[in-house]
Amino acid sequence: MQELINRAKELLADGTVARVLGWREGDMSYNPEVAYFNSAEELDKFVYNGFCAANLSKYMIEASKLEGKTLVFLKPCDTYSFNQLLKEHRVDREKAYIIGVGCCGKLNVEAIKAMGIKGIQSIEIDDACETLTVKTIYGDKTVAYKDAMLERCHVCKGKEHMVYDELMGESRDTVDAERFAEVERIEAMSPAEKFAFFQAELSKCIRCNACRNVCPACSCRKCVFDSNKFDSAQKANVDSFEEKMFHIIRAFHVAGRCTDCGECSRVCPQGIPLHLFNRKFIKDINKFYGEFKAGEDAETKGPLTNFTFDDVEPCDAVERG
């Protein structure tokens, strides 16, 4: 972490960048927040550890409008989002100085709490990212790092950065699950079971819009759901149809552009596995158009925005079930 701070100070001092976009230590071990740093002094509060899960790519939309370059730290999976935003002309490559940072998987404090751990006073992460020492007012606990990881890290796309100016820090392979296993489990359900599954999950939705607001693919200047001319409230589900409509429309809208960064599920206050919608689309796109990874580069046209005569016929898609 100190190397990152030192390098950021250098780049600020020599005028390469005007500011730094990173994470600042929180008031608890597990809640660092996204922050801009404008001076070497401010950088003393910079932090980079397992709890720095936030994908900073989307913040670069606003940073692209500022004077001068912004140094941004991107984890491997964040770089897919950045490329996708570049492709959609939402961020300016010239305004970004990207340090690709290593990643040992990111942590989810909800996973730690789900183990019955309460009253957390501090969480210490060992250097090897193997073990967490959790001090609580009800006694100390030890947790294996991988048991506290976000879902997305168990099915990581890979630790290679797709876009960067320089790379720093080590990564570690964190894959220990099959990415499409949960999608396949749901595909195998009967229509009634599928309906019951999504009904139970989506009726928890409180329409906070956190999934949309954090999503790098949801970068419309004004969302249709925020329009007061649209006959659907952005802030409440009028009926059980609307519970589903919002999420299904969003999933369709980001299809072919979603990089599976997993931010939607990370931020959902109700723990809805929203990534499953997007992953289903990714699986289908792979099947019908060949392997495609949104954000792998900033040039290739996505299969859903690029018509070719070899495209799958709609009837084939209907049969997919």
């Binding site: 922050a35 009253g119 906070c208 802030k235």
Partner: protein
């Protein structure tokens, strides 16, 4: 009033007895998350989870509710007002912070002009509260004068060993006790006092126990409003409505029409000061930046509300925003940031 008790193992009998005569809301786990829900025989009651994701405020002030329906019949419009709550109900397992939240809502909805929808629910609702056995690190209710060991409800409950102790605190609570008395036996006042002492000892150890509210009061608008602290604080905010929708005291709502095809349903729903169309008026919006919207929320809780309500804050220290904000921002960080700024001056 007398202390009663019931074995934890018999709680389901108690709930069934309560539900026999009225509606019953309980914290229950659905698809992995615990929220208040209407009880039935199959409900997976969860009294172990300290905080429900959403506060139970929507028992009294639902996220969305119809106000009236307009239906076109021939060439006439028929307007049918929504009926007020007329059925008694019990909310079981509310915590002290959430009850303080209801008191905040009372200030808003029971003041003139009285909100009849809310008032009807308050009149028909009986609150059975559960003292907090194991407060969590995000809790700071004591900072706002709330005692998690002594919930101020119609009936208070304490889990002591394998028993749940029961004490009525109001007339409504006495009435409910009378209905279920057959299931209760005499409780031990001393054991409950020991439990309270235990809870209070934990509260003192909580990391936010010493949060300092100095400088936050009804007359602080001038010094807080234009502070440069906001400019740094708001930046990670995603402008989502999580903090406002999980909050037990956020009470802003919007009124909207839902097109039913042959008329409209006029309903109200929770609004969020984080949203771009919040308080939108014919002339436009009086808060056009996220900085302004972010500032509004905290100024309302800690300055404007106390200014209009005899110093009462509209934060109760439940810590849901601490737990749930996707950008790890919350009212504690706001209070601390101002403290730091003032110390640096």
């Amino acid at each position: 009033m007398d202390m009663f008790k019931i074995a934890k193992a018999d709680l389901s009998k108690l709930l069934a007895a309560i539900a026999a005569e009225q509606d019953l809301f309980v914290p229950a786990k659905v698809a992995g998350q615990t929220n208040f829900t209407l009880w039935n025989e199959e409900t997976a009651v969860d009294l172990d989870t300290l905080k429900t994701v959403k506060s139970p405020k929507d028992v009294f002030f639902p996220q969305s509710e119809n106000l009236y329906t307009v239906k076109k019949e021939d060439k006439k419009y028929k307007i049918t007002p929504e009926e007020l709550c007329s059925r008694d109900f019990v909310v079981f397992g509310m915590k002290a912070c959430d009850i303080q939240g209801v008191k905040v809502l009372d200030r808003v909805f029971l003041a003139d002009p009285v909100d009849t929808f809310y008032a009807a629910r308050r009149a028909h609702g009986t609150i059975v509260a559960l003292a907090c056995g194991e407060p969590e690190e995000s809790c700071f209710c004591s900072v706002f004068g709330v005692d998690p060991a002594n919930p101020d409800a119609d009936v208070a409950l304490w889990v002591v060993g394998d028993d749940v102790c029961w004490k009525a605190l109001t007339e409504k609570g006495e009435a409910l006790t009378a209905k279920v008395e057959a299931l209760l036996s005499a409780g031990d006042e001393a054991a409950v006092e020991a439990k309270k002492a235990e809870i209070n000892a934990i509260v003192e150890k909580l990391p936010y126990a010493d949060l300092d509210l100095e400088g936050w009061h009804g007359d602080a608008t001038k010094e807080k409003f234009d502070s440069p602290v906001w400019d740094d604080l708001y930046k990670p905010c995603l402008a989502c409505g999580t903090c406002t929708f999980v909050c037990p005291t956020c009470q802003c709502y919007d009124i909207k029409d839902y097109d039913t095809g042959h008329g409209i349903q006029r309903y109200r729903c929770w609004d969020s000061c984080m949203y771009s169309d919040f308080t939108m008026m014919a002339h436009g919006n009086n808060r056009t930046s996220q900085l302004q919207r972010f500032r509004q929320r905290f100024m309302h809780k800690l300055v404007y509300f106390p200014a209009n309500n005899d110093g009462m804050y509209s934060c109760v220290g439940c810590g849901r925003c601490v737990d749930k904000c996707p950008a790890s921002l919350n009212i504690v960080k706001v209070i601390k940031a101002f403290k730091k700024e003032e110390a640096a001056k």
